[in-house]
Symmetry: C2
Subunit: 352 residues, 2 copies
């Protein structure tokens, strides 16, 4: 026993001295609250692949349980739950919280604003990520872009819109900032719970509805009852975000911080690819089975939307220099990038 003890001591000290023995790092059992129901195409996948990649890259040192609203009961409460630390993390859309802080609105998307390519350039090379965290620091949250829907559609209409006067008084389900724009342009934005949308559109209680894009829309069945599908103008690539409670994030070791940051960015990228793919495939199926007419709004309608949007943005920016900074950062950036998108993306798609 004595010799064994001496040997063990020598071995222990030898290991310690050689640096070949280290203490196992703490394990992190974290929970993520997402705003989307379990199984929502693309959106749930982005949260799940983020969590899965963190687990694999950390060699199992960090495990993240992804909770849907079925469990946490607060799809629009992710902001508060992460701020307070009730959940370490959340996966949600920044613009859901414009009531808490109007500066959060445009980190998701802006009507007639940046495409996903431009938005990513803004986040990573145009100061967007720093601005995002300047805004969220006020709410005890560290935020990362973490998913993109790609360009959303302008919605399903029962009748064709040939001019601005066809739009007047039209009842449309279109929420948030875009709904305010539509209202200013003469429409009547209405709020209908998702479960009642199909019946409302079928019965003519509403005349139009915007949802996301074919992959999500086809499950709602709008293609069966509204033959006009309008090209998008109001959500040219909605970016989702990962929220993390600031104290919890700051207490992490540097390698896990890096793993989270890179994994969130990968989720943003991957969801953009998946969204594009699934919508293209759903559109391919839809157009075979239904007689759907793709339309772009006539110029006077687009002009009215643009005017209303510009006025609303100016109004919101006018209320605080803090919100103005976000709006102006995006506007100045887009003004610089716009010509290049026209020369490359637009020209190429036209000539191909």
């Amino acid at each position: 026993m004595r010799y064994l003890s001496v040997s063990a001591t020598i071995i222990l000290f030898a290991f310690l001295l050689s640096g070949k023995v280290v203490f196992a790092q703490a394990e992190y059992e974290w929970r993520l609250a997402m705003s989307w129901p379990k199984g929502t195409p693309m959106l749930h996948n982005a949260a799940a692949r983020f969590a899965n990649n963190v687990e694999k890259m950390s060699g199992g040192r960090m495990h993240i349980t992804v909770d849907a609203p079925g469990r946490h009961k607060a799809p629009l409460g992710v902001f508060d739950m992460v701020r307070s630390g009730a959940y370490e993390m959340g996966h949600t859309a920044s613009y859901y919280y414009k009531g808490k802080d109007p500066a959060t609105t445009f980190f998701t998307t802006t009507p007639f604003g940046m495409t996903p390519t431009e938005m990513n350039a803004w986040y990573y090379y145009g100061g967007g990520l720093a601005l995002l965290n300047k805004v969220y620091a006020r709410h005890n949250i560290v935020a990362f872009p973490a998913g993109n829907t790609h360009i959303q559609m302008g919605g399903w209409f029962r009748k064709e819109i040939n001019s601005l006067k066809d739009l007047k008084g039209l009842k449309m389900r279109i929420p948030g900032h875009a709904g305010e724009v539509a209202g200013k342009a003469g429409m009547t934005p209405v709020n209908v719970p998702p479960g009642e949308l199909y019946a409302a559109l079928e019965r003519g209680t509403i005349d139009a509805v915007e949802w996301i894009g074919p992959a999500n829309d086809e499950k709602m069945g709008f293609q069966k009852i509204a033959p006009y599908y309008y090209a998008g103008w109001h959500e040219p690539g909605a970016e989702l975000h990962l929220f993390i409670n600031k104290q919890k994030f700051n207490a992490l070791p540097e390698d896990l911080k890096a793993i989270i940051a890179v994994s969130a960015k990968e989720a943003s990228f991957d969801m953009l690819s998946e969204s594009f793919f699934r919508n293209a495939v759903a559109w391919e199926e839809m157009k075979k089975e239904h007689n759907i007419s793709i339309r772009t709004f006539p110029q006077d309608v687009l002009d009215a939307f643009k005017k209303a949007n510009n006025e609303l943005l100016a109004h919101i920016a006018g209320k605080s220099p803090y919100v103005k900074e976000v709006i102006e950062s995006q506007q100045i950036f887009l003004a610089r990038m716009k010509d290049w998108s026209r020369i490359t993306d637009e020209s190429y798609l036209k000539l191909r």
Copy 2:
């Protein structure tokens, strides 16, 4: 001493039993050979940020030294150096190796082919990544997409091209598959070393030159001597790749494999954003200082390029079912996605 030994033994065993002591993992000192000179905008950055992220995420367990051709002397030898294990890793463009294996060509880009958004959808949701590794497995390499140039420009021309006959016999620096297409369409593709390109274009030894996009082109100075800058058709988003020696990759622990895969994907995404951004900024500067006319090739020129490209692709595919699989996978995928790009990206950029 005796009691100390006994205590130490108890402590050692207690740690071992509790699982709280682990042996430090091996450290990996790896080298990456890149094809680009040190400091090449975007391209070197993508390799460097990949290496840096791997180091941070692995907590320093893996360190990758990035070597430029100034050191390894073989910009187009990355394939061989990684295959043999002389370098564990490489950062290069797959289409440089079409002489080694024609199936490698189109993983980078294809004239009139996929945009970056479509290409990423193909890689991650359309079977592209699996096909890439089916091809590279024959060469003892594990490959990941790891950088994108965004849509490249069609090149600088001293004279305006008004119809196909203006193109006949025109001497242009345009290498690779696109050069063959240009040749078939009536041009004379020529090879001029990069360092002599400016003088050749200035003296009229060549009539046109394609390089990359404004951020790289402006350093070459072409904007001073060729006033027509044509929109791109031949490299609609060249994807770069990370190559890894297969034995070395397979011997890595699972967490490092995941760290490499996610980090490569992040590099692909980030370089796309950086390329878009830097080209847009360089274009903004260029157009202020020089009188540059942006042009799209006339329809008969585009038709001739398309016809030549289709014939060449059919010819290459006809030579082996193995190469055909890659070409057809891309063509079938693009045919499915095309309409969706038109309805979203193209429509949105037009109406914005």
